[in-house]
Subunit: 251 residues, 5 copies
């Protein structure tokens, strides 16, 4: 459970709302048509720019930020060392029975147990890593699009408001409030983009990096097990992926 | 038929028009000269920046978004597995009779049937994939250009309006409406760019990615069939291109 | 002769001038000092940022857009097939007599006729392609620089005008016209950049791509002729560079 | 100890404060809610966009700018030459006793002493260099994020202030001061970004480059020692990494 | 001596000053505190963002633009052909006596004379080229930083001026002049960036490209001399680096 994300979102919103209340009424900052232009326009632009499956995938990835447990590089290294120990003790065939949630690790074990050629294992795992990377990047791309479209529709909303306001300039008293309302869409767009869409895109990228790194460890580990079946060597080589401070001493 | 694109375009436009009508008259937002500057200027800049064939190709690609059926990665994998089964049962020569709309798949089958060398097959398919990718990217580039030029000509139109308005400042009453009209070009440019041009460019990129992915599957499949003529292995390797959830169980 | 470029430039300018005249006097949009700041400043920045040879090369490339005939990929493929037929009929030595304007094709033929090693041919043609690409990119870079500097000097001119206007605010009547003049530089800069400099840069990039593609076809063709002297195979392989619809049926 | 960074930060701040005091009261530029929106919003966006470990790592890297001694390329070359001399005199096994703070150098020595295969040494050091590079880049990425979010929340704060000010336009006297306060958030955001966040990100990048260069020297040196155990050759090859003027004459 | 740079800088400045004088007093555009904020702030940000050695290196590179003679590609080709002739007539050992200012050429000659292995020569020259490229890029990076920071501090200065002006709105007469002064910093920042910093960065990049190209010619020439000691072949291959029109006919 990733509390930092939730905390960041709530504190950020709280601070902005707090600053608004300190300066006056909060109601002044709520406007239906303004929200409609920004949210509706951004959603519409998203529907045109991304296939519907990618949009669903992105929101799925967003909710996974909160639910999924992060697997550290050291944990993956430990798993690969344990697998190397099993394969040494019980032979490569024993890898067929290894249970894991990780699709790529499962495939690697199966390929080694099937005694597939090193080239085939190399190619297959490379394709798996590349596919996963691409699928994870979709989430980032969708949220980046949202982060670009929401301020744009904020500007569009403000232009609509300004044109309407300037059209009836005969009543100078209504000028101020009308312009305040016109600026609300720009405010909505900027806030959505900078507090929600762009940060979520960045977090998804950090997540993708972590998962791809873990797959790279699995990839190098599988190559290592195939080449020389020595758990100590596997630990030595794979620990280079882990920051020096976090490296667990072998044995 | 891609309904999401059409739905996005119409809802987005509907929302903007709705928000305009809620705030006043819609007629106020229609202005001939403003549209002329934005649309005409953008078209002119496009004619200078892209050869006429590329512009036609881009609009062709745009209409294909609505008409063409999307072929999923799993479908391509299934086709390649079926081809592997045929080539195993009836020999590589049988691939000559395979019927397909896909130019690259056809060329791959012909090359295998002609028992061309692996290097020639590799090179030829790489060139085919690269050519197709480039042709598809043209559409994206053209719509991105449109998405850059339309707000620029929006700004140019507004500058024209402002200069004219400021030139005859003696009548303060006409100030507001004149400025309202001046802002319309910026509004047109921003709306065209963010609701139409940029989202369409993004959708074309997503399409290109899907097609190139399909060609990569064909490429890997052809290599696999050449190397070891085993349909099970072909399915195993190619299924790595497909998201784990969508993978069809072989046999 | 590339009419689209000329047409785009004249229509674009015509539309803007038309829109100006529809809204008032055209004379109001002409101002000597404003043009001096934008054109002079942009030229000065260009002289600092690019060696004089590159600037001349860029304008040379610009005029070539109008004069030079575009050679299509299919034409180059046909030439390479004909060369393969000659070399098959009359031997590789016959390539020495082939006449062509294309420097790279000439060099390729000479190298093959001299029976240079494949590695030397590969390296030399790679260097030729890379040199030509770089020389063509200079034109694009120079026009992109112009497209960046002209709006910047437009802004600088407007700032000068604003400072002067604000300095003598005692006469409110002159405020409007002074600001109108101040905005002219921004207008000049934006128009020059978006109707001329940036589109020309884009067109030069498209041209470069076409020429590099043609050289790649020559490169692959030369390799093919060296490896197996079969015109049919040469046509088959090189036609992958051409869009499927435009491919001429061999023989 | 990096005085330039500290000096830059203090002089920059001093100049801005000085310019403010020369023009009026400094108190006018202090506003609690404004600081709350910019600092709080930026921090909140950072918590959403980066895992908490990365944020801590970034601030850790920031403080290291001041404390850590810079190791020049020439020093690393000298160390590698000395190691080559030791390994020549006392054999490769002697490298096991070499003491160094550098994790990668230690690993390189251990691998050579263990007489690991050249491929294993190559792969392991490549992974180490890549891991270190990635860890160092995190600091840069975090400060770049801060440099992007702080002006954005500055703009958001100004929008809040403008909306509130325009809402109560009945008191024209309060207009000026209210707008002054509204602009303060933009000022805070721009100052933080351009005097602190972006420059620190740039300095961290320069640091990363220096450390990666040092690792590359270690990597090439280790390869050189393995291939031909000649200290003169090691110095000759590695000195190519050092600017000509700073190269120490060997022996 | 590069007159174009000097001419560009002086004409650009002259045009701007001329336009200012045509529109009013020049003194109005001079303001001490404004210059202090822009120049001081930019310098401070530079000190934080780049190590002091890199800043000195950048200014050193800037002055070299004026002093250093440009060596054309054809000249380097001629030198390499002459070296090939010497090495053919007098043997590879004769290369040890070749005198040149170019560090890389000297190293190449020494390595060939020492009959070092082709791999060692290849690696060493690659490192030399990469090091030189990196050192030259520093100048470009520093001037690009200056070109980014100067308009940013221009904006910061204008914000300070606006806040101070709005704080004492009771005197409407002082409004105009105060705002004029506030805008001066933006003017300074934009002028410095677009007439000086960014163009110089671009010129440094062009210079770097030329020098790296010359090194690539030396690199290819050295490889060619090692492989087959034929001056005619060396000229033939290296002349591919030179634009067709400038190629000198051999012999």
């Amino acid at each position: 459970m990733d509390f930092a994300t939730l905390l960041g979102l709530t504190t950020g919103l709280g601070l902005v709302v707090g600053a608004i209340i300190m300066g006056g009424s909060f109601l002044q900052f709520l406007d239906g048509p303004s929200a409609m232009i920004v949210l509706g326009g951004t959603t519409a632009a998203l529907c045109v720019s991304h296939p519907i499956e990618e949009v669903l995938q992105a929101f799925n990835a967003f909710f996974k930020i909160f639910s999924s447990r992060k697997v550290t590089a050291q944990e993956v290294v430990n798993v690969m060392v344990r697998i190397a120990e099993i394969s040494r003790r019980e032979g490569l065939l024993a890898l067929e029975n290894i249970r894991t949630d990780n699709v790529v690790l499962k495939k690697a074990c199966k390929l080694i147990a099937d005694s597939a050629g090193p080239q085939l294992i190399h190619d297959t795992l490379r394709i798996e890593i590349h596919s996963l990377k691409r699928r994870h990047q979709i989430g980032e791309t969708v949220f980046k699009s949202l982060g670009t479209f929401s301020p744009a529709f904020g500007l569009i909303g403000t232009l609509i408001g300004l044109v309407q306001m300037l059209g009836r300039l005969n009543d100078p008293k209504s000028l101020g409030p009308a312009m305040a309302v016109a600026l609300l869409t720009t405010f909505y767009g900027a806030l959505l983009s900078n507090l929600f869409f762009l940060p979520v895109a960045a977090k998804l990228r950090a997540r993708t990096y972590q998962e791809v790194l873990n797959l790279e460890i699995i990839f190098e580990g599988a190559r290592c097990i195939l080449q020389n079946n020595n758990p100590l060597l596997v630990r030595d080589k794979l620990s280079s992926f882990v920051p020096p401070k976090e490296r667990t001493v072998g044995r």
